[in-house]
């Protein structure tokens, strides 16, 4: 069987933060995410989850090791190139939503492709469709500050998947939500995955991670277990 193409490939990735003693947030991570996967990365706080997300999202460079995203070796790319890779290939969902309050849901979602050079009219058309897809067709012209937490996170998810990026990285997407909204968001992520979106969801909540087809467990900057480690050949 030929495995789907790898959209994210980490080899021996370490990340140290300067200090005395230096903080070793990642201590040699090997991880491959293939197109179409839905992966839960779980671990207690301090296990390096957020650092891993930043490295996977090209927001930060590893101290050592190789990172390939959507086929690009990020060690060979300039800061400007990395911005371009993020603009087209990576979508982010954050625990704090990071919406621009004062703007409508539509404008917030349309901003997902703001830096790609797509025309504003095309972005807005696409955003309206995507808002409909996440069940917020009735909230298109509402200011995001007037929406509930669950709705706000749906807007953020819509923004992340707007351009159908190679991979969507979600950092504690349910961290600020009550359990009902939380379930709804997880369901939405599952549905989007079923439509072909590749997703990595970082969470400290093992129950949520357990719902995903593949779980990667982090501890002290190392992969403690990977449910797919045995399954997918190379």
């Amino acid at each position: 069987m030929t495995a789907p193409e790898a959209v994210l490939d980490l080899r021996g990735v370490t990340k140290e933060y300067p200090g005395t003693p230096p903080v070793r947030a990642l201590r040699g991570i090997d991880l491959t995410i293939r197109s179409g996967e839905l992966v839960g990365v779980v671990g207690p706080s301090g296990s390096g989850k957020s650092t891993l997300l930043h490295v996977m999202g090209t927001l930060d460079r590893p101290t050592a090791g190789d990172v390939h995203v959507a086929g690009y070796d990020i060690s060979r790319l300039s800061d400007r190139d990395l911005s371009a890779v993020r603009a087209r290939n990576i979508g982010f969902v954050f625990q704090q939503f990071h919406l621009l309050d004062g703007y409508t849901a539509l404008d917030n979602v349309a901003d997902g492709l703001l830096y790609t050079g797509m025309s504003a009219a095309d972005r807005r058309d696409l955003a309206a469709d995507t808002l409909g897809r996440v069940g917020l067709a009735h909230r298109v012209t509402h200011a995001t500050s007037k929406l509930s937490g669950g709705e706000r996170q749906r807007v953020a998810v819509a923004r992340a998947v707007l351009g159908r990026p190679a991979i969507v990285l979600a950092d504690e997407p349910t961290g600020n939500l009550d359990s009902t909204s939380s379930d709804a968001i997880v369901e939405l992520l599952e549905e989007l995955n079923a439509e072909g979106i590749t997703l990595v969801v970082i969470t400290h909540n093992p129950e949520i991670a357990a719902r995903f087809p593949r779980q990667v467990s982090l501890l002290d900057g190392l992969v403690e277990s990977d449910s797919a480690a045995a399954g997918v050949g190379r």
Binding site: L59, Y72, D81, S83, A84, F94, G117, S119
Partner: protein, 401 residues
């Protein structure tokens, strides 16, 4: 546009550049307005100072234009040892022979006082002098009559008098109706006219003016002029000034004083521009303070909007996009302040000019320069905050606070 790695660069359309640059202004309107206010005040003072000084100067220049700068006054010198020097008898005739001289009017002083009536005590002369003049004096000075008429060939030979504006006021004569008489040198003179103020010959405003013939016949005037008013061809003013002393008094040219009355008005214009420089300096200080205010607000804004910066980097913004956003925001703040300042400055100029009866004149350089200064200030004020925003690493910006 792709680079050597085959990556399609991040791009931001011009319209989106503007939209992102106004996020801060639209979400924090009050703060934006207050921080632009400093620039508004600075620009308004610059525009108003330049506008007011130009308007008042143009008023002076109109006045100069109307009066002409080609009028010269020749007077006998009053230096040490000269006593009350007089001009030679031949002075007026000689001056007329200078080619570019168009008009000469002689004025002599008469030793007499003028009173409202013969009952006024002789000590209360009111400081009014009596001048014996040629009939072409008014034309030479380009003066006008407020009431009645000026002396002519006929009236100049008879006991008639024309009063200068201040002289008429001091004598309490506002009208020449009913055969108004004044007691002048122990006899009655008929008042036939009252003059408007003479801007180029203020001393005549305080005079009772009689014809030279009448002065000789009735007041013992010796016919010697004490000053000559000389109107020259406008292109030859300096040349005529140069030859006048020797022409008037070939023996002692240094005892002749030649002056140009409009010089005083020009000096006034120059003095006003000295004040203009001072106020301009104050305006520049206000502008700099306004710029510091904008820089301050922008630095705070960058700190407050760290997560927005992080989000934009995650969405694919380059450092340049972020820098541009904050720089443009500062520029727009300054530009808004500048526009407000120009409007305010024009308003102040128009209001004050209307009050003073001047033509409103805003020099182009005032408002273009004002807006340009605002933009420069905005750019300088925005540069440091923009650099800080751009240098922020995406992970640092996204870190929860």
């Amino acid at each position: 546009m792709t680079d050597r790695n085959g990556i399609v660069r991040s791009r931001l359309h011009a319209g989106d550049v503007l939209r992102t640059a106004t996020v801060g202004l639209r979400t924090r309107k009050m703060r934006a307005a207050l921080s632009a206010l400093g620039i508004t005040i600075g620009i308004a003072s610059l525009v108003a100072v330049l506008g007011l000084s130009d308007s008042s100067r143009s008023d002076l220049l109109t006045q100069l234009d109307r009066l002409g700068t080609n009028l010269l006054v020749v007077q006998a010198g009053t230096g040490i040892g000269l006593g009350n020097a007089e001009l030679p008898d031949t002075a007026a005739v000689m001056v007329e022979r200078i080619g570019p001289v168009e008009d000469v009017a002689a004025v002599g002083s008469v030793d007499a006082n003028v009173y409202r009536s013969d009952l006024v005590p002789s000590t209360r002369s009111g400081g009014i002098s009596v001048s014996a003049v040629d009939t072409n004096l008014l034309d030479t000075l380009e003066g006008t009559v407020a009431e009645g008429r000026f002396l002519d060939e006929a009236s100049a030979a008879y006991p008639t008098v024309v009063l200068g504006s201040i002289a008429a006021e001091r004598l309490g004569i506002a009208t020449i109706a009913d055969g108004q008489l004044v007691w002048l040198g122990d006899q009655w003179f008929a008042v036939i006219g009252i003059l408007d103020p003479l801007e180029l010959a203020g001393s005549l405003d305080r005079s009772a003016i009689v014809g030279a013939g009448a002065a000789e016949d009735y007041l013992g005037f010796d016919g010697v002029a004490s000053s000559l008013y000389v109107r020259t061809h406008p292109d030859w003013v300096d040349g005529v000034m140069g030859v006048l002393p020797a022409t008037v008094n070939p023996e002692n040219p240094d005892q002749v004083e030649v002056s140009r009355p409009t010089d005083a008005l020009e000096a006034r214009a120059a003095a006003e521009s000295a004040f203009t420089a001072l106020f301009l300096g104050l305006g520049v200080v206000a502008l700099i303070v306004g710029g510091v205010g904008i820089a301050n607000v922008m630095v705070i804004s960058v700190l407050e909007r760290r997560s927005e910066i992080g989000l934009r980097r995650a969405l694919g913004a380059t450092r340049r996009h972020v820098a541009l956003q904050f720089l443009l925001e500062a520029l727009m703040l300054a530009l808004a302040g500048g526009l407000g300042g120009v409007l305010l400055g024009v308003g102040v100029t128009a209001g004050y000019s209307a009050l003073r009866g001047w033509d409103v004149l805003i020099p182009t350089v005032a408002w273009t320069g004002g807006l340009a200064a605002a933009l420069v200030i905005g750019a300088v004020a925005g540069l440091y905050p923009a650099m800080r925003a751009a240098r922020l690493s995406p992970t640092e910006a996204l870190r929860t606070t």
